[in-house]
């Protein structure tokens, strides 16, 4: 039961924690804890346990470091402080950035639209209320798993082969897998909504479409906006990554600069990209707070607050209830238990804890709902023509995507050569790469926060480092790491782990800032040091949702492992790039199928892990 589908590293740690425990008594009262997580595995430890993967990694590292690259690395770091300000360089970086942002925005918009339509089409509620059957929804859900399982980079490279080099390729490459993801998340949310309102409307004779819109629209909107915003951030990262593989924009420039070791020019692009990314994240964060949307990843979902306090809590804060009800249930998105009220500031003993103020700040004022609606419409009105203009400026012709070029007929497929590929090794390496990278990312984020806990000044530095990590497409980190490390699995895992650490770290920080932890304050008040107070007081409550998100992230990393293929010896990704450059369609097809299968299994395991972790006790 423990850790079904959790990365093996975590699982084994958890199991050790589990079996290593001495039970000081049975469970004489027969308490309700079917899952013994709260006692069996110390939650805060489970959170940092994945970082144990550092031990083998650090052990291997000295053997991997080669002396040569330190000069280059020093040059690289120095260049960070003196990016090239040459107008030509700046101009081309800005132009590239424009393309990247354009691709991200258009791809994102297309994916949200696509996702919304597909979500409706794959919702059981919609099908039941429209025609009484559920099977079309289930069928579509299964079908949607396929586009989702293939990384946007692969979509990009495949589309490039089929329709040639055109701006719409990068956009479609983002829109297809993202659309399927949005569809799944929204579909789950739709079906998770209480069906009472809908049934009531239908009973009173309201036609299906209107009933659906009225009953499901408003509760779905905040989740859609919140998740949509999150997807926009992802789209910016993806657009950069696609550029690294030649699909246009700043990524292309970054890669070329790095390959020719022009670090000053490289940093010009990096700083610009960082500025845009932070602007986007702050802007979206601001909107999220303004429109009272749920926090993206219900990390830090309620767990403190005794049951005894709950009735009071529920009536105490309208916002608490509203937030909980909106908590989306998508990948990594939240507790599956919307009935749980938000944790509330309850002790007046901590007047400066800030929690109270924050929650008060969130309480919707009577006029806020109407205002929110107006602003959303305004935003839509601004964005729509902008998207159209962008598409025209970039020369996007969606119809161009239908202009299929015939694939070259390069002789009969030779399945013997496909079978001759070292499959077990390829798959094994890919899985190992995923596990190591995931454990690094999941474990390091809380560990680093712990390390810097006593030093407030270190926090902005860590945030900057994480922002850079998010920003850096993994293949570029891999190339950079090659200046220092020998190629191979660990190098690839470090690159992948570093990137995802940036993503996870930010979420963790956000969640831990958002969720009041009275226990942490209490510990500090009793003279416990900042690190132990954080570990005991805050991580205890965060562990479940954080690990649940980590499980989702591991699934993402599996998909992403293709992008570090160019480091060599990195499993399926490496072989895929090789087959692509040989135009070996048969191998490519086989590799894609295997990849898709792996990611589907991975997704399933990660889902199970999440459900297990988030299951109400």
């Amino acid at each position: 039961m423990i850790g079904l589908g959790l990365p093996a590293v975590i699982r084994s740690k958890l199991r050790n924690a589990w079996t290593g425990r001495v039970w000081t008594g049975g469970n004489p009262n027969g308490t309700k804890t079917g899952l013994n997580w709260p006692t069996g595995i110390a939650a805060p430890l489970a959170m940092v346990a994945p970082a144990l993967v550092l031990i083998p990694v650090l052990g291997l590292l000295p053997g991997l470091v080669h002396g040569g690259g330190f000069d280059l690395l020093a040059e690289f770091i120095q260049a960070a402080f003196s990016p090239s300000l040459d107008p030509l360089v700046l101009g081309s970086a800005l132009k590239g950035l424009g393309t990247t942002v354009g691709i991200a925005l258009l791809g994102w918009a297309a994916s949200v639209l696509l996702g919304l339509v597909l979500a409706l089409a794959s919702s059981r509620q919609v099908w039941t209320s429209c025609c009484g059957h559920v099977w079309p929804a289930n069928l579509l859900r299964r079908l949607l798993a396929l586009p989702r399982s293939i990384h946007e980079l692969l979509w990009g490279l495949l589309l490039l082969q089929v329709v040639g080099l055109q701006p719409a390729v990068a956009i479609a490459a983002i829109a297809i897998p993202y659309g399927a993801l949005v569809a799944r998340v929204l579909g789950d949310q739709l079906d998770g909504l209480p069906s009472g309102a809908l049934a009531a409307l239908r009973c009173s004779g309201v036609p299906a479409p209107q009933a659906l819109l009225t009953a499901l629209g408003p509760p779905l909107l905040p989740g859609l906006l919140s998740y949509g915003g999150y997807r926009l951030e992802c789209a910016l990262r993806s657009a950069t990554l696609l550029g690294v593989f030649g699909l246009g924009g700043l990524g292309t420039e970054l890669k070329l600069c790095l390959q020719s070791l022009q670090f000053h020019e490289l940093w010009t692009g990096l700083w610009l990209l960082l500025a845009v990314m932070l602007l986007l994240e702050t802007g979206l964060g601001g909107l999220r707070r303004r429109w009272l949307m749920p926090r993206r990843l219900g990390l830090g979902s309620p767990s403190s607050g005794s049951p005894r306090l709950e009735p009071g809590a529920a009536q105490g804060s309208g916002s608490g209830r509203a937030l909980a009800a909106w908590a989306p249930a998508g990948p990594g998105l939240a507790s599956p238990n919307p009935a749980r009220p938000w944790p509330l500031p309850s002790s007046p003993l901590a007047p400066e804890s800030g929690a109270g103020h924050r929650d008060q700040g969130r309480a919707p004022r009577p006029d806020s709902l109407g205002r929110r609606g107006r602003e959303m419409v305004l935003a839509l009105v601004v964005i729509m023509p902008l998207l159209v203009w962008l598409a025209r400026a970039m020369g996007v012709h969606p119809l161009g995507l239908l202009h299929w070029q015939p694939l070259p007929n390069l002789g009969a497929a030779s399945w013997a050569s496909v079978l001759a590929l070292p499959w077990p090794q390829l798959v094994g390496t890919t899985l190992l790469l995923t596990l190591v990278a995931a454990a690094l990312a999941v474990g390091l984020a809380p560990l680093l926060l712990l390390v810097i806990a006593p030093w407030p000044w270190a926090r902005p530095l860590l945030q900057l480092a994480w922002a850079l990590a998010r920003l850096w497409p993994p293949p570029l980190s891999a190339l950079l790491l090659l200046l220092l490390l020998k190629p191979g699995l660990v190098t690839a895992a470090l690159a992948l782990g570093f990137h995802n650490l940036g993503v996870l770290g930010r979420l963790l920080l956000e969640a831990s800032d958002d969720c009041p932890a009275p226990a942490e304050l209490a510990l500090k008040g009793a003279g416990v040091g900042p690190r132990l107070a954080l570990l005991y007081g805050r991580y205890s409550g965060l562990a479940r949702s954080y690990l649940a998100y980590g499980a989702y992230r591991a699934d993402v990393i599996l998909r992403e492992s293709v992008v570090v293929g160019l480091v060599g010896a990195a499993g399926l990704g490496t072989q895929l790039l090789e087959s692509l450059s040989s135009f070996a369609w048969d191998q490519l097809l086989a590799l894609l199928v295997v990849y898709a299968l792996l990611t589907l299994v991975g997704e399933d395991l990660s889902d199970r892990a999440r459900h297990w972790l988030l299951a109400p006790t």
């Binding site: 132009k95 070259p408 090659l482 070996a584």
Partner: protein
């Protein structure tokens, strides 16, 4: 305060959305995206544009210096509009040629064969004097313990070393070296880590071997010489251990439909223009110098039979 914060958030969001609009150029078509007009170019339109490209085998700044010169010169000679479209990797160049997004491409030996196989009717137009017998140079880090070797058998020294090729599809950086390695009895799995690396370009190979990331690598001779000359390659850290025998390499390939689009006899004119470049003309001299050649000469597909053979042997051509 709260209000100001909110507005800041809204403004931030808006400015972000508007950012692309504020950028210079109006057409944010990045370096490797085709300018919009070219994405679809209806045949028989008044002024077709000749789009030239090249495999990105070297530093981008060099490519960006060289090919606009080529475009300008061809434009002058042929009287049609010529633009240079950069691509990011070898495979993309082949694909862009197949999908008709590039009209005239400077291919390597292997990519040229791949392109012609994927686009029947494509014409081999010209090659440099040095391409008749091109060479690769095996290079090694001074700290690797490798020494200069005499013949192909000496390549066995590379077994157990960390080794990198250039691009997967490079003729001088991968295909022919792999062929010679096989001749010398070295399999790819014999390298440290069970596989060689692929740095992506010749310049990167030199940088990585020089840094010690790889013990050894292989690059095209012309790039190696240039790097030595301009000091990018540090003789104290990286040195040549072996020069391969000659083989045919780079060449210009044109689309099969050039005559239809640009008028009868256009491909012939194009070929004539390229092979007419001489060092006596200052403009053309600059181009030839950047190409590292004295002049171009006619070439035919037959010259690349050997490459195709090796490509099939190694599995890069199927």
């Amino acid at each position: 305060m709260a209000i100001r914060e909110r507005w800041a958030a809204v403004l931030a969001g808006l400015s972000l959305v508007l950012l692309p609009a504020a950028l210079p150029g109006g057409t944010p078509g990045g370096p490797s995206l085709l300018p919009p007009a070219q994405a679809e170019q209806p045949q028989g339109q008044a002024k077709p544009v000749l789009r030239i490209g090249a495999i990105p085998d070297q530093k981008p700044e060099k490519l960006n210096r060289l090919y606009p010169l080529v475009a300008a010169e061809l434009e002058r000679q042929l009287g049609v509009q010529v633009t240079y479209v950069p691509v990011v990797d070898y495979t993309a160049a082949v694909t862009a040629f197949r999908t008709g997004d590039l009209d005239l491409v400077w291919f390597g030996g292997l990519t040229g064969v791949q392109a012609r196989l994927q686009k029947p009717g494509a014409q081999v137009l010209a090659q440099r004097d040095i391409d008749v017998a091109f060479h690769s140079i095996f290079i090694a880090n001074t700290g690797s313990g490798l020494k200069q070797i005499r013949d192909v058998k000496g390549l066995t020294e590379l077994k157990g070393k960390r080794f990198t090729f250039g691009s997967e599809s490079s003729t001088s950086g991968r295909l022919m070296p792999q062929y010679f390695l096989a001749k010398g009895g070295v399999k790819l799995a014999d390298f440290a880590g069970g596989a060689p690396g692929f740095s992506g370009s010749h310049d990167t190979t030199i940088a990585l071997v020089q840094s010690g990331a790889y013990d050894a690598g292989v690059v095209n001779e012309q790039v190696w010489r240039t790097s030595l000359r301009d000091g990018r390659a540090n003789r104290a850290k990286v040195f040549a251990i072996w020069r391969t025998p000659g083989y045919p390499d780079y060449h210009w390939i044109g689309q099969p439909n050039l005559d239809q689009r640009f008028g009868k006899g256009f491909s012939r004119k194009l070929q004539g223009a390229i092979i007419s470049w001489r060092t006596t003309n200052p403009q053309q001299k600059q181009i030839l110098t950047l190409f590292g050649a004295q002049q171009f000469s006619k070439s035919t597909a037959a010259n690349y039979k050997q490459i195709e053979l090796v490509g099939r042997q190694i599995g890069k051509i199927r």
